[in-house]
Symmetry: C2
Subunit: 590 residues, 2 copies
């Protein structure tokens, strides 16, 4: 039997060889009594030719072949004539003269053509996902995903990590995001929860004496979805005992360096830059700064604290701040109308307005300039490194609004003005995170990361006076303005964990009911431990240069958490609910 070859892997070395090819009809052309087919398999394309002088039989069969038919051919690899060489095809100097053709399966005309890029709606693409996935960029993305998975595993295996599987049917805990619940049939009225992360299990693995654990783990959050969220997602989950924060960060740097080398052929510099959370907010208005471009926020609060411009002075006086962006050289590029649009944009983030100045002929112009003293104008020019032709944009508000609005505006302008070098992969550690976050609606503190995060040395002493100032032994890895993942050292002493639950407002009973098993486990020689979890789908999105998380997941869900291909979720038989002792409260009871 003739040996099977892959279409895209044929080279001039195969010329003269008899090959067996199997794949899909990408395109068919009839020309001068011949039929030409671009045959596609997982490796790529090659042109096959049906010629009456070679096999009238194959030619006759080929006549019935249409796009996306599955065929098997045997034939001889030949060089194309000079004039018919196709530079756009990797195998474009070759073709296969077909001797035999079998049609393995037919195809209806696909609802869209499987070109590299297509402008069909995402809804159609998801409904016919198996067709969408046949397109080259999708094939490449999932091959990249496979390669990245293996590169990560290879690194961790070499470092003596053990890959371990944690349960999917776990206990529901009210902290964190909303759980997906799974009703128990054996214990009616009780539920499992799908894991939001294997956090507690990986800590228990450390307490079980396995020193280095990893898992490429499926996690679940029943939250309202945005473009970069999916109800089920994959994370690279890592935990180690006896390693310091530095050890863990350094190891992750080596892992990323190795992965970027293997997968993208890039040599990225290590160690990664580090920035404290407070500094990141102050300079970028973001806890995940995109450092591929500058245009940082400048805090001018001190300069304008007594300003004649009431908006500036007022913000500082009421405990907020004034920060600005210097849009270099764009004074004349932005009309008043353009700036109005930017003002509308920052309002989305709660800003009441956007003040602006233009640097022209060595002075600052614009509606607010008349309120600024010469000293203030000078101070601003110095602080913001102002040159003629620059556009300055300011938000004066409470601190969180200043950061949110200017952080978002910075990113918007960075994209609009093409300031971002898309070939860069800028990794960054953000460290020294707050331990707790205050929820104004609920009037209590929450764990900024999770309740098992180790407070920084001495932090717990601030517990009564300034809980918001407590810092955590936590670190986030940021890539190109995306949070790739976060980690921390964990609490390993039972008394500290108790204090932490207390700080979070748990009664002893509540802590015990939800986390009693953890409190107990900590009492039997829990080792010092810590780890990290990295969002794998998002990492692939960045590596593949895509901007939609759904393009990195084989069978993703829509924004309403539906699978348009299989039509999940769906109604189930009444008998299934009866077995679970459940009733639907939105339907009439039968």
């Amino acid at each position: 039997m003739t040996e099977r070859f892959y279409c895209g892997k044929l080279t001039e070395e195969n010329i003269g060889e008899e090959v067996l090819l199997k794949g899909w009809v990408q395109k068919r052309r009839d020309l001068g009594g011949l039929i030409f087919i671009d045959l596609r398999d997982v490796s790529g394309l090659v042109q096959i030719v049906f010629n009456p002088s070679i096999s009238p039989d194959a030619l006759a069969k080929a006549d019935s072949v249409r796009s996306e038919f599955v065929i098997e051919v045997t034939g001889k690899v030949v060089a194309r004539e000079e004039s018919t060489i196709n530079d756009n095809m990797e195998t474009g100097t070759l073709e296969v003269e077909t001797k035999e053709l079998s049609i393995l399966n037919k195809s209806k005309t696909p609802p869209f053509t499987l070109e590299e890029e297509s402008d069909i709606t995402e809804e159609i693409r998801l409904k016919y996902r198996y067709l969408d996935l046949r397109r080259k960029p999708m094939q490449e993305t999932f091959i990249l995903r496979h390669q990245t998975t293996q590169a990560i595993r290879n690194f961790l295996n070499r470092e003596d990590f053990l890959e371990m599987e944690t349960p999917m049917l776990t206990k529901s805990t009210p902290e964190g995001a909303r759980d997906y619940l799974v009703p128990s049939r054996v214990h009616p009225g009780e539920f499992y929860a799908l894991p939001q992360s294997p956090q507690l299990f990986k800590q228990l693995i450390m307490m079980s004496g396995f020193e280095k654990y990893y898992q490429i783990a499926r996690c679940f959050r029943d939250e309202d979805l945005r473009a970069d969220r999916q109800p089920e997602f994959t994370q690279i989950d890592i935990e180690t005992s006896f390693m310091s924060k530095e050890d863990i960060m350094e190891m992750i740097e080596r892992m990323m360096k190795q992965v970027m080398k293997e997968v993208k052929g890039l040599d990225i510099p290590t160690p990664f830059p580090r920035m404290k959370y407070d500094e990141a907010m102050e300079r970028y208005g973001s806890d995940k700064p995109d450092t591929r471009f500058c245009m940082e926020l400048t805090n001018i609060s001190e300069i304008v604290q007594n300003s004649g411009f009431k908006v500036f002075r007022g913000a500082v006086e009421s405990g907020g701040k004034v920060s600005g962006l210097n849009v270099k050289g764009k004074a004349s590029a932005y009309s008043r109308k353009n700036i109005d649009q930017l003002t509308d944009f920052v309002k989305i983030y709660g800003a009441k307005g956007l003040a602006w100045l233009k640097a022209e002929e060595d002075s600052l112009t614009g509606p607010i300039s008349k309120f600024l003293s010469e000293e203030e104008a000078h101070g601003i020019k110095e602080a913001m490194n102002v040159e003629n032709g620059d556009l300055l944009l300011f938000v004066a508000d409470k601190t969180s609004v200043v950061y949110d609005s200017l952080g978002a505006l910075r990113l918007k302008l960075g994209k609009e003005l093409n300031l971002i070098d898309e070939t860069k992969f800028n990794f960054l550690w953000v460290t020294d995170w707050p331990l707790l976050e205050y929820d104004e609606d609920l009037g209590r503190y929450f764990a900024a990361h999770h309740p098992f995060t180790m407070p920084s040395p001495g932090a717990l002493e601030k517990f009564h006076d300034a809980p918001g100032e407590m810092k955590a032994e936590a670190y986030d890895l940021v890539l190109n303005g995306y949070e790739l993942g976060g980690g921390s050292l964990r609490i390993h002493e039972p008394s500290m964990q108790e204090k932490m639950f207390e700080a979070l407002g748990f009664t002893k009973e509540e802590a015990n009911e939800q986390f009693g098993f953890l409190m107990e486990a900590l009492q039997y020689g829990a080792p010092p431990h810590g780890g990290i979890a990295l969002g794998f789908d998002r990492f692939i999105m960045l590596l593949a240069g895509r901007d939609n998380l759904r393009d990195t997941i084989l069978f993703p869900k829509t924004a309403s958490a539906s699978d348009l291909l299989t039509d999940a979720p769906s109604e189930v038989d009444e008998s299934q609910l009866k077995e679970l002792k459940l009733k639907l409260s939105n339907r009439e009871v039968k």
Copy 2:
């Protein structure tokens, strides 16, 4: 800083070196003013010594140390004196003279000692799983599991398989086992199902043009549990396009050969023996024969079809059969009382009784011997290869009962009589499976494997006359009497799939509602494809030489599907149910 070493990896080459060790106190002994501690980490044990002449300070601290404390020590590796060498410890020729000791965490006295084997109840072991997992055999099992996972991946990666992730929140279909359901909050009254296997998704992956897929996939079945079942389990899931049944089986053989070599250091012969389903049932009374020992079933129906022994004759006349086991040389070992116990055993499997004969002094004795003609006795002796001293056991019944009861009896006797060579790994393919199975309770045929299994050539022609005789292009891989997994070619032609649904009693509407997406996908150029799924937990159980599936799963569930460590499943907040628009029908409505 002193370099960290692993306890179990210290060798005589380290003598004289200063080392840093971190781990758990396995055991502490006080002797002649010294303290000896067996220190344990993930790599094993080493003895550390506290000596007042080396560090009175460390000795004083060591006095407070108890079992399972987590400590960090620095010290010098020295050779033990000849008389104190411990041959039971891998590092038994060495010890570490401790200079510094830090206690990293304390431990209460564990509820059981962490010896290699312990006789505590499984309930206690599961509740304190993190302690149970510290025991050496458990550590070894999960290291073996990790190694096996990587060996499988390495093989499949080299064969150009892509590792791909399929969804966990999928559509519920009534075929197969009972689904775990996940209520949707966004679509009240609708449910996802956790996958029983990624079967349809892996077929869709083939239709997406990825030619070779694998996944080490978590699967879920809400069934009543036995010792070798868990509500969530892991399977090695494999699917390929364009490969024949032979290609797939041969590849799996190479995979298993490679894995057994890497993980167990064993060279297992390939190709694996193959046996048709009908032959396996006839010779072993089982579709997963344990071929590590003989004692096969012998069908003597023809010999006794006209027998004076009514029970034999009657079974054959009513369409059943008579088969027997020859328990070689055990005639005198089994008293009448022993045989009564075996009779009780076969009754569990529906047999009405167990007939027996003993071969003594060239003739067959026993209560039924007087009913047998000389010709029959001769026939039996010949067919069953009878020698003096043999014990013959017979069941006469309908065929399924004969197989079930004698198959089980064969295994029981094999174990009791130590006929099984426990060092053997006997792989076996069972092929030519029935396509359909009749469910007597429901009065209809079911897919023996699943509704997507390709019928054998010509099988569908028997669809109206003899549906039970239709065979499938299916193959099971059996190891030492366990079903390791099963696979098949799949239906890739829409018309055949339609016929299959019809054979299974689906109306067009039912087929469409449940599998409409598959029927549609098949119309757009589905390639010929097939694959296999192997039970990974069970494979590890066999590789680790254990007999409880729970010992191969890090955090397993009990027979009532509970996690005794975290106490899942559990009740959830009323508010969670409200969001899902669910009510518990076994509680009063509030």
